[in-house]
Symmetry: C2
DNA sequence: ATGAAAGCGCTAACAA
DNA sequence: TTGTTAGCGCTTTCAT
């Protein structure tokens, strides 16, 4: 059985004995329409179950009522939350949200951006997989496509952005470690989120040197933002002769991975290793002890992104960069150094 | 600055000095096209950066290369995972996935289904918010829209579905409680997912009576599938004079809520209360003790849904119901009853 | 092998 | 106030 033919303006125009133009006017409530005519049309529409064809409308107007969202990974609770907020903020504007994850791959990001572009979406909200490989995003802006970048920066893309103070957050975390007596402080960060990672790395280096501590290559590990990859990175880090006594991870998936790795190595938190994670998450309060985190104002990011996108769509003013502060939430995963790792 | 005019077939036809028809043929590789002409067209397309207009194509063919997905809540890790898998399974077919959450509201489900419908999506994958209020889904099927229902059943909708053996899973969980000596076994389930909940409830009742135990109203609580709502439900349950000694929850968000509630009441797992959750999740292995769960083969659900949807799209055979088995993963959250709740 | 032309469903400029 | 008409970009007969 093939799809039934949907009812069109023509159908309801015929039913209401008016022209298609009049029917369209009555349906969309613009221009001059006689009261009784309007009623007749509305009735016919209701009776026949007229639904309108957004594709035809979009072709006519050159734009789909859709906003594209390109997260790094929809399974990351951070992005799932943002997607949820975006959807909610967009609904009153009668736009749909189309989510197409880049899976943290720059090739796939190019692909999905292109795909969204060919759909004539109204605008794009992207968490760039790379900070440097941004040609496709620049092209977007040059073509006049409204674009807002979130969570991460992208070099030389003249568009609005919503990010958090990664550097300050990392600095605060490191200072907290130092004030607890730690000297060998490790960092696991995510290469793909280059700028974000670079900023958090920057804060790390900054704080360390600020406290007169050396920055050791061997204490800085790179991992993908997945639980599995982070487990490996953490195991490498803590298998060294003089392992770190403290660890900062840059997102919640990585914090989860670190936790699993430490447990598998028989290292207890915070007795053997102190831990701070970037980005607060459910899990953080379920572990024993609970995890100290650098939290981001995640609830505000989606709303702000939509606001900035709307400004872009209506052409209001210049691109605008929003940067939210972070907050160190102290729980129980940081202690004094000195526990002996058991083998 | 407004959007630049994208290049159209007409542009490349002009550039290659052929008609639009020929250009289209060369671009899409069908019909007869001279070899040299084809090359000229391809070159022109590449040079001008032709991208095609999926909206116009869709209008022409009556369908958008999009599959709609309506989860109950994209923030639920279960659905986030499914969305991820769906996206991956769809990509090779050159279809995009459009996610529009129902937020577990039947009104919103109707709204987003309608919205997706007016976009002429190729097919729909829905986790119905209600098992009984299914008129809009039935209408969809009658109109010939390919539809696959996942996770939950919906009464009287003649379409394919992918679900798990909720009843068997619940039965197995309850039997495990009973074999550990429990007699007062509580259930918190989700009213909105009526059939799923009913099935899990069915398994609960079945197992209880099978073991010669009475089914007590006061041990069955209804909650929404959110952490907050479940906390309240659990507190009500365990504030009774003779509180339950064991608890089964029907999804991971609810398990999380139960855990938080028990902790806030000073009840320890499994000393005071034994706990089993439906649906395995990260958190389950981070708590101390780890949580025993009824796991679903989540990795297979998305792939199977896409397969069934494709069958529907190509009109292959009749609608088909897939039901996956569950598996009880025994960890440490079930003990013998007899601990005294502390106040 | 190629071109001319129609039309998907809709909206809006223009006419009446 | 309403109708006529053109055309968004594309594909696909049908003719050449």
């Amino acid at each position: 059985m093939s799809q039934k033919k949907p009812v069109t303006v023509r159908d309801i125009a015929d039913a209401a004995k008016v022209s298609r133009a009049t029917a369209a006017r009555a349906l969309n409530g613009y221009g001059y329409v006689g009261d009784d005519t309007a009623v007749r049309v509305q009735e016919a529409a209701a009776r026949l179950g007229y639904r309108g064809n957004r594709v035809a409308q979009a072709l006519r107007q050159g734009q789909m009522p859709i906003v594209g969202f390109v997260p790094g990974d929809i399974q990351n609770p951070f992005f799932a939350r943002i997607a949820h907020d975006l959807d909610g903020a967009l609904r009153p504007t009668r736009h749909s949200l189309m989510i197409a994850s880049s899976e943290e791959s720059i090739e796939q990001e190019r692909e999905v951006v292109d795909s969204l572009r060919s759909l004539n979406v109204r605008g794009l909200i992207v968490a760039p997989a790379s900070a440097d490989d941004t040609g496709h995003l620049v092209a977007l802006v040059n073509e006049g496509v409204p674009l807002v970048i979130i969570d991460r920066m992208a070099r030389d893309v003249p568009c609005s952005s919503v990010t958090v103070d990664n550097e300050g957050g990392a600095r605060e975390a490191i200072s907290y470690f130092v004030s607890n007596g730690h000297r060998r402080i490790a960092l696991i960060h995510d290469d793909s989120r280059i700028v974000t990672a670079r900023e958090r790395l920057g804060g790390y280096v900054d704080a360390l040197t600020g406290h007169g501590l050396a920055v050791e290559e061997r204490l800085i590990a790179v991992s993908q933002s997945t639980v599995e990859s982070t487990i490996e990175a953490a195991i490498r880090l803590f298998s060294q002769p003089e392992p770190p006594t403290a660890l900062l991870t840059v997102d919640s998936l990585m914090t989860t991975g670190a936790l699993l790795a430490l447990r598998s190595m028989g290292l207890s938190v915070p007795h053997d290793v102190s831990l701070i994670g970037f980005d607060d998450f459910d899990l953080a309060t379920f572990t024993d002890p609970q995890i100290t985190v650098v939290s981001q104002p995640v609830a505000r990011i989606g709303a702000q992104a939509v606001k900035l996108l709307q400004d872009r769509i209506t052409g209001t003013g210049e691109p605008e960069a929003t940067r939210f502060p972070t907050r160190l939430i102290i729980r129980g995963s940081v202690g004094k150094p000195g526990g002996q790792p058991r083998r």
